[in-house]
C-alpha cells in the first residue's frame, strides 16, 4: 500500500531499480535526485510552518528567524517574586558567568548570580547574551480550545465539506457522463457554457451571488455554502475529459446486455473513472475546507462558523495574532492531509488496471 511505501527507508528507496540486476539506471538517479530536491522545496516550508506554530508571539517577530522554537530560560530567585531571565555574560569582568537579570536601566543591566542572589552586579548590556532553550509554546494550541467552540466549528466545516463534496461529485459525474457519452443537439453549447463559467472567478461575482442566495433564504445556513459550491465548472470539465478516454465498446456491450443507462453510469462509468473522481474528490474537499471568502459573507452567526472563519478572526484591523493563527492553520491542515493520504492511492488504480485487459 502507498502508506507503507511512504515509510520505506532511504536505503530501500535508493536500491529500487528500473534496470535489471539490481543496478540503477541513470534515469533512476536523475529521478530520485529530482524527487529529493522536490521533497526539500515542497516540504521544508511546510515543516517550518509547523515548527513556527510552536513559537511564542514574541519569538515569531524575532530577527533572524530561528528554525526551532526557542524561549529564554528564566529562574526564580529566593526572596523575590516572579521569574528572572538568564543571560550568559560574554565580556567584561564577569565573562563566562551565567547571571539572572533583575532590571535594566538604559545601557546597564542589574544582574545577580543565582547561586549568590544578594550581590548585585552591573553589566553593560552589550556583554550579555540570553540563554535559550528549545521549548514548544503548546499554549498556542490549548488556547484555541478555550477561546472558542472548536468542536462546533469543526463539525460545521466537516458537514459542509462532506455534503458539498458528495453533491458535487454526483452532479458533476452525471453531467460529465452526458457530455462525453451521448450525442445530442446542444451538447457543444452546454459544454461551452460550462467552460464559459470558468472565466469569471467567484471573487468577482460575490455580490450578485450573495443577493441570489439571500433571495433564496439560504443566508446564515450551512446549505448556503454547500449548494452554490457544488456548481463548479472545473469538475465537469475534468471528469468529461477523462470519461472521453473510456472506450465506447464497453457501453455498447452493456447496452446489448440491456443494462439501463443509469446502471451503465453507476456501475461502469463511475468505477472506471475512479482516478479522475478521486482527484476531483481531493480537490472538492480541499476547496470547501479551505473556502473563506464565500462563507465569510454567507455565515454571520457564530454557531454556523467554519474553521477558516475562526482562523481568520485572529486578523484585526491593525494587528494579527500570528501565534494563534499558525496553530489554527496546522490544526485545520491535519484533517485534509489525512484525507489526501487516504484518497491518493485510488488515483493509481485506474483504467490501467481494470479496463486495459
Amino acid at each position: 500500500m502507498a502508506n507503507t511505501a511512504g515509510r520505506m527507508t532511504l536505503w530501500q528507496m535508493l536500491t529500487a531499480t528500473r534496470g535489471k540486476n539490481g543496478k540503477l539506471h541513470w534515469t533512476d538517479w536523475v529521478s530520485y535526485s529530482y524527487l529529493i530536491l522536490g521533497v526539500f522545496l515542497m516540504f521544508f516550508p511546510v515543516v517550518w510552518l509547523v515548527l513556527s506554530s510552536f513559537k511564542t508571539e514574541a519569538d515569531l517577530q524575532r530577527y533572524p528567524p530561528t528554525f526551532l522554537p526557542y524561549q529564554q530560560i528564566t529562574v526564580e530567585l529566593p526572596g523575590m517574586d516572579g521569574q528572572f531571565p538568564l543571560f550568559e555574560i560574554t565580556g567584561g569582568e564577569h565573562e563566562g558567568k551565567t547571571l539572572a537579570q533583575l532590571r535594566r536601566v538604559g545601557l546597564v543591566a542589574q544582574m545577580v548570580d543565582p547561586s549568590n542572589p544578594d550581590e548585585r552586579l552591573r553589566i553593560d548590556i552589550a556583554d550579555r547574551q540570553p540563554v535559550q532553550e528549545v521549548r514548544l509554546a503548546v499554549e498556542n494550541y490549548t488556547g484555541l480550545f478555550e477561546r472558542f467552540n472548536f468542536l462546533r466549528f469543526f463539525f460545521n466545516s466537516t458537514f459542509i465539506t462532506v455534503a458539498a463534496t458528495l453533491l458535487m461529485l454526483l452532479v458533476n459525474a452525471m453531467a460529465a457522463f452526458a457530455l462525453s457519452k451521448y450525442q445530442f443537439r446542444g451538447r457543444t453549447a452546454v459544454l461551452l457554457l460550462v467552460i464559459g463559467t470558468l472565466m469569471i472567478p467567484q471573487t468577482v461575482v460575490l455580490v450578485p451571488l450573495f443577493l441570489i442566495v439571500t433571495e433564496m433564504g439560504m443566508l446564515n445556513s450551512l446549505w448556503g455554502v454547500i449548494i452554490p459550491g457544488a456548481a463548479t465548472p472545473t469538475g465537469v470539465f475534468l471528469l468529461r475529459q477523462y470519461m472521453i478516454t473510456i472506450p465506447d465498446e464497453i457501453l455498447d456491450a452493456a447496452r446489448m446486455d440491456k443494462a439501463s443507462e443509469w446502471k451503465i453510469f453507476w456501475r461502469i462509468i463511475v468505477p472506471l473513472s475512479a482516478p479522475a473522481i478521486a482527484v476531483l474528490a481531493i480537490l472538492a474537499i480541499m476547496w470547501r475546507w479551505n473556502d473563506f471568502l464565500w462563507p465569510l459573507i454567507v455565515l454571520t452567526e457564530s454557531e454556523n462558523f467554519t474553521l477558516q472563519l475562526a482562523l481568520n478572526s485572529f486578523q484585526g484591523e491593525l494587528q494579527t495574532e500570528w501565534s494563534s493563527l499558525l496553530a489554527m492553520t496546522v490544526l485545520t491542515l491535519l484533517p485534509i492531509a489525512l484525507v489526501f493520504m487516504f484518497l491518493q492511492k485510488y488515483i493509481a488504480t485506474g483504467i490501467a488496471s481494470t479496463g486495459g485487459k
Binding site: M42, N172, F177, A178, I195, A253, M341, G350, G356
Partner: protein, 358 residues
Amino acid sequence: MATDTQTGASAPVSHEPIDASVAARAQTIKVSRDGIALTALSAVMRLIEVPFLALQRMLGINKLAWVFLLPNLLLFGLFAFLPIILNGFYAMTGGDNVLLQDRPYIGAQNFDLLSSCDNFLDPNSCLQDKFWRAVWNTTWFVTLQVGIMVGFSLLTALILNREIRARGFFRSVFFFPVLLSPVVVALIWKWILQREGVLNAFLDWTGIGGYNWLIDADWAFAWTVFLSVWAHMGFYTLILLAGLQAIPRDVYEAATMDRASAWRTFTKITLPLLSPTMLVVLVLALIKGVQTFDEVYAFTGGGPGTATTFIIQYIYEEGFAGAPRLFGLAAAASLMVAGVLVLLTLVQLWINRRNVDG
C-alpha cells in the same frame, strides 16, 4: 426487465469480459471491503434507477442525456450563470449602491472609461492606468507561470509514473502545498524571503550575500511566479498523473518490442494519448493563471508599487475592498477579462481538435 446484477451475471454472455458484470464484480468486492456505507449507497442508487428507467423508456437514450444534465444545469443556472448575467447588468450601471434596482443605468460608460487610452502599451496614457498596468502584468505573469508550471508538472508526473519506490510518499509531498490556504502560502514565503529571512541567512553563509528581494520590482515579480508555481504545481501534476495512469500498459509494451527510443515513445505515444488531459491542464492553468489573486495579494499586496498587481486584484480593489465600491467598473473589467479568456480557450480547443483530427 429489471436487469439485476445477479441475472445479468448468470445470463449467458457472448462478448468479452469487459461488460457490466465485470464492473459489477469489482463493485461487489468493494462493498465487502468498505462495508455498510456502500451497500446503503448502492441501495439508494437502485432506487434512483426506477424513475430513470421510466424516463429512459419515455425519452429514448439520447434525450436521456438531458436528464443526466438537469441537476447540474439547475445548480449552474442559479449559482453560476445568473450571477454572471447580473454581473453584466452591474457593468452597465454606476454609483456605489449594492442593490441593482438602486443603481442608475449608464450604458457603456464603464467600458469606455476602462478602454480610454492614448496608447494601450503605455499605462500612463490611460485614464484607468491601474487597469492597464494590471493587464500587462497579468499577461507577462501568465505567459511565464503557465509555461513553467505545466512543464514542471509534466516532468514530475512522468517521474512519479515510473516504477519508483515510495511513490505514494512523493506524490503526497508534491501535492502538499496545494492543501495550504493562499494566505499561509504567502506568509511562509514572505518569511523565507524577507530581509533577514532564511534565504538571506543562507546566502550570507555561502558568501553570495543576501538581497532585499521583495522591494525590487523585478525580483518581486519573479518570486510571485515562483510562489504560484510552487503552490499549484501539485494540482496539475495530479491531473496529469491520473491521465498517465489511463494510458494502457500494453501500448508501451508494444513500443518496447519495437525498440522505440524513450524520446520517441514519449512524443509518439505518451503525448498524443495524454492530449485530452493536457487540454484540461492547459485550459485550467491559463484560466487560473489569469485569475491569480489571493496568494499574491497576501504576498506582495501587488507591490512594489504596482509591479505585481494583477487583474483580479484590480477588480477586487475597485469593486470590493476599496472606497467607494465601484461595482460597475469592476464588473465591466471582469467581463472584458472573461472575453479575452473565452477567446484564448477557443483557440486552445481549436488547436486541440485540429491535432486530434490530423
